[in-house]
Amino acid sequence: MANTRLFLGAADTNILYRVGQVGIDTGNQDSGAATYVVSISTERQYPAGRNALINWRRVAVRLLRTAPVDITMRVYVDEIQTQVYDASSNLVNQTIVFNQTGGGECEEVVEADIQAVGTSIRIELDINSNDIDGILLLEPFEAHGRTIRPAKSRAAESA
């Protein structure tokens, strides 16, 4: 078989780097002990229209993984981060952490409860490379809610 490798040379040191292969080297860290951060932010989505009102209750992410992984999620409704009461009954920004354990290739849906009313929704995910032990593939993200008020529309004017 042919085996193609991509090498990069440093512009200011004598180090020659090899670029890892996706799916084979994924999950390892960068050169040495450095940790990179996988950051994902969806677009703001207005699934019921620009001036609709939705009671957002859940978000779900489907993922395929081959090893344990820790994922941090934040949800923004109308660009304001969702909030939750902490153990001291203080209202704080909601940060959702998924600690997925167990090995072997598996597909999972991780879900989180949210409570916010608004029009748009956006999800941010952060994953540190040292929190991924194997391959991690992220699949479609979903938000679940009830439409309180659909988008307004004006009836077409008749001739």
Binding site: G20, R44, R122
Partner: protein, 682 residues
């Protein structure tokens, strides 16, 4: 309350900055991901492959060029103390660097780029493999490495004599060497593109009949005079000629057939490393207006989804484009912030036409400044095997089934998605892992194994090896565990008139059977006896110390000096003094249908004593009476059985057989009701 509506708000996609209403495949940010198997994947990292030495065996200061040549990776490295550029040969996996030559001396400034091209030249009777080396800045003469020596390339355009040739770029196209930006002495023609003879063989130059590899008339002017050629690339059998503001393509096979076509009079490449090809079919390049691609026919803007980003990227000659064909990604490395070298990348997924972004980091977590890049292709190589062996293997008996099961855990040495782990077992220490002692293979990502195939009271030795693409790693450390004595196969309780009988199916010859008892519900176990030196067969013990009408549980285990006792086997509860169920009398009644007298049923009734909850009577019948085999009809806990409806006139006479089963497991009594004629007048 209606169910929640489901809205898909994102799918596998890339950066999207140019849609007023983004669709769910667009992202505001996708950093350090790539598209893989149709989904977003955390991207793979970079590894430090090796460090490149200078000519004094110290550390070079920058890597300014790299290329594959004769199954080796050659690197051009600049040293700002020794003021030279060095040629270093590495193995094809980027390791084992060996300093080969000093290419140029008195180099007081780091070259922008060193361009290297592998080519087979020579004479008509002998070939010579050469690695051509050009200084993009045209400060130093173009040379070639033959494997043992560096030779300065010389030729002349004016026949005045062999002068050093100073190309800014060299490329192999249609078995000719092509050099750009011809400079000889004081003559500088940056738009001039020269080409050698086929195979760079010295052939008679029509100018004067002298054998030369570079003929005086073999050159092509490209574009406007004085407009420098930035570089050359080959796609779809065309030679792409990049200027900073124009792109041309050359077709043909030799000097008589070369034809130049201007692909774009406006779009070019920003620097000598700002372009690369995918599989020789598509060339990706960064122009002054952003990332583009061309197949040698048309130029396509691929940067529209990240237009805002592009507008913030300077048109820097240091921008590097390198294609990773394995991941099908075109990386565009660009400088950000105060960096003068590329330290951030935008990656274009070739198949899905989507953008992601990210950085490669060094040991300290600082973005790597990239100075050069290349691909190497290892033909005929074996598939990648495990990169390291598993370690820290630990074997312990299972906390529950410790007479049959040993649990293993280990630390993976290779976490690739296709790395499995083979488990090996033997009864001899220091054994060699092989297919004959492989007991199973754990899936990728799994670092544990439950071996439930062990014999009892045996010591087992284990090793594990990674398995990837049919190749095994070295073995892990060895660890061992010893299983306990075999537990009794079955413990059964039955009633005695003065207690409870405990029946044990013992599997260990000459073993001791330790019997404990607890009243129901189980609270505290009391040791009631130990049966010594028991045979490997059914053994029973009559417990006459139990209090009648009290429910008891029993547990039994096997014990033997020098061995670990077996797990307990529990049975119960059962009432003491219950006795064995038996039928004391049986009869039958013929029951006609109240309306249709010719339809009859047979009710077989019996009386039995010592009946407990799980005791049953098995009812059989055969017809005609006195012949044939009995057929089982039912297992009954009551004291009668109503046989099905018969239509008269007759079937034949029927025999009934009644078996009494203690706990529905042990046959203890058999009775018969014979020759029943259901059609007799009632």
């Amino acid at each position: 309350m209606p169910p929640l509506e489901v809205f898909t708000i994102a799918g596998p996609g890339g950066l999207q900055q140019s849609q007023a209403d983004p669709d769910p495949t667009g992202y505001l940010e996708v950093k350090n991901t790539v598209i893989y198997r149709g989904r977003l994947a955390a991207r793979s990292p970079v590894y430090e492959s090796t460090t490149i030495p200078d000519s004094a065996a110290g550390a070079a200061d920058a890597i300014v060029g790299a290329a594959m040549h004769l199954n080796y990776l050659y690197v051009a490295a600049y040293d700002d103390t020794l003021n030279n550029v060095n040629l270093v040969q590495c193995d094809i996996d980027g390791t084992n660097p060996v300093h080969k030559a000093v290419i140029w001396t008195t180099v007081t400034a780091k070259p922008t780029a060193v361009i290297m091209q592998s080519f087979t030249a020579g004479t008509a009777t002998s070939s010579e493999d050469r690695l051509y080396i050009a200084d993009f800045d045209q400060n130093f003469a173009t040379s070639y490495w033959t494997g043992s020596a560096l030779t300065v390339l010389t030729n002349s355009l004016d026949l005045a004599g062999p002068d050093n040739t100073v190309f800014s770029y060299v490329k192999d196209y249609q078995f000719h060497v092509w050099g750009t930006g011809y400079y000889e002495g004081i003559i500088l023609r940056p738009e001039m593109l020269r080409f050698s003879t086929p195979g760079s063989l010295p052939l008679a130059d029509i100018a004067d009949g002298t054998d030369r590899a570079w003929h005086v008339s073999d050159w092509i002017p490209i574009g406007r005079r004085g407009n420098s050629i930035i570089g050359l690339e080959v796609v779809n059998q065309r030679l792409l000629v990049f200027q900073q503001d124009a792109l041309h393509a050359i077709n043909g096979y030799n000097r008589t057939s070369w034809s130049v076509r201007n692909l774009s009079p406006y779009i070019g490449a920003v620097g000598p490393l700002a372009f690369d090809h995918y599989a020789g079919k598509i060339c990706f390049f960064w122009s002054a207006t952003g990332p583009m691609m061309t197949d040698g026919e048309t130029v396509t803007d691929i940067g529209e989804p990240i237009r805002e980003i592009i507008n913030n990227v300077p048109s820097d000659t240091n921008i590097i484009c390198r294609v990773d064909p394995t991941a099908m990604l075109a990386y565009f490395f660009v400088p950000t912030g105060a960096a003068t070298s590329p330290n951030y990348y935008y990656a274009f997924d070739i198949q899905n036409k989507l953008w992601t972004e990210g950085q490669f980091l060094d040991d300290a977590g600082v973005a790597i400044n990239i100075g050069s890049g290349t691909r190497v292709v290892e033909l005929g190589s074996a598939a990648v095997g495990p990169t390291a062996a598993p370690s820290s293997l630990v074997a312990v008996v299972d906390p529950v089934n410790y007479d049959t099961t040993i649990d293993l855990t280990w630390v993976a040495g290779d976490t690739a998605y296709n790395t499995y782990t083979a488990v090996h077992r033997d009864v001899t220490t220091g054994f060699t892992p092989a297919s004959g002692n492989e007991i199973g293979v754990a899936n990728p990502g799994v670092t544990e194994w439950e071996d439930d195939t062990c014999d009892s009271d045996d010591q087992y030795f284990y090793k594990v090896r990674h398995l990837r693409n049919g190749q095994y790693s070295a073995a892990s450390n060895q660890d061992d565990a010893t299983t306990a004595l075999a537990r009794p196969d079955l413990v059964k309780l039955s009633g005695l008139v003065n207690g409870i009988k405990v029946t044990i199916d013992n599997l260990v010859a000459n073993a001791e059977l330790n019997i404990d008892r607890s009243s129901e519900p189980v609270a505290t176990w009391s040791d009631i006896t130990t049966l010594n030196n028991q045979p490997a067969s059914e053994v029973s013990h009559d417990d006459t110390t139990a209090t009648c009408a009290t429910q008891y549980n029993y547990r039994v285990r096997t014990e033997e000096a020098g061995s670990t006792s077996s797990p307990w086997v529990q049975a119960g509860p059962l009432n003491a003094c219950e006795g064995v169920p038996n039928i004391t009398g049986a009869t039958y009644t013929i029951i006609p249908d109240p309306v249709k007298d010719w339809i009859r049923s047979v009710k077989v009734s019996w009386t039995w004593n010592n009946k407990s909850r799980d005791d049953r009577v098995w009812v059989y019948s055969r017809s005609p009476a006195g012949g044939g085999s009995y057929v089982k009809l039912a297992e009954v806990s009551l004291d009668y059985y109503l046989d099905s409806l018969y239509v008269c006139p007759g079937p034949d006479d029927i025999d009934y057989k009644l078996e009494t089963w203690e706990d529905n497991t042990t046959l203890v009594d058999t009775d018969y009701v014979l020759a029943v004629d259901p059609c007799l007048a009632s």
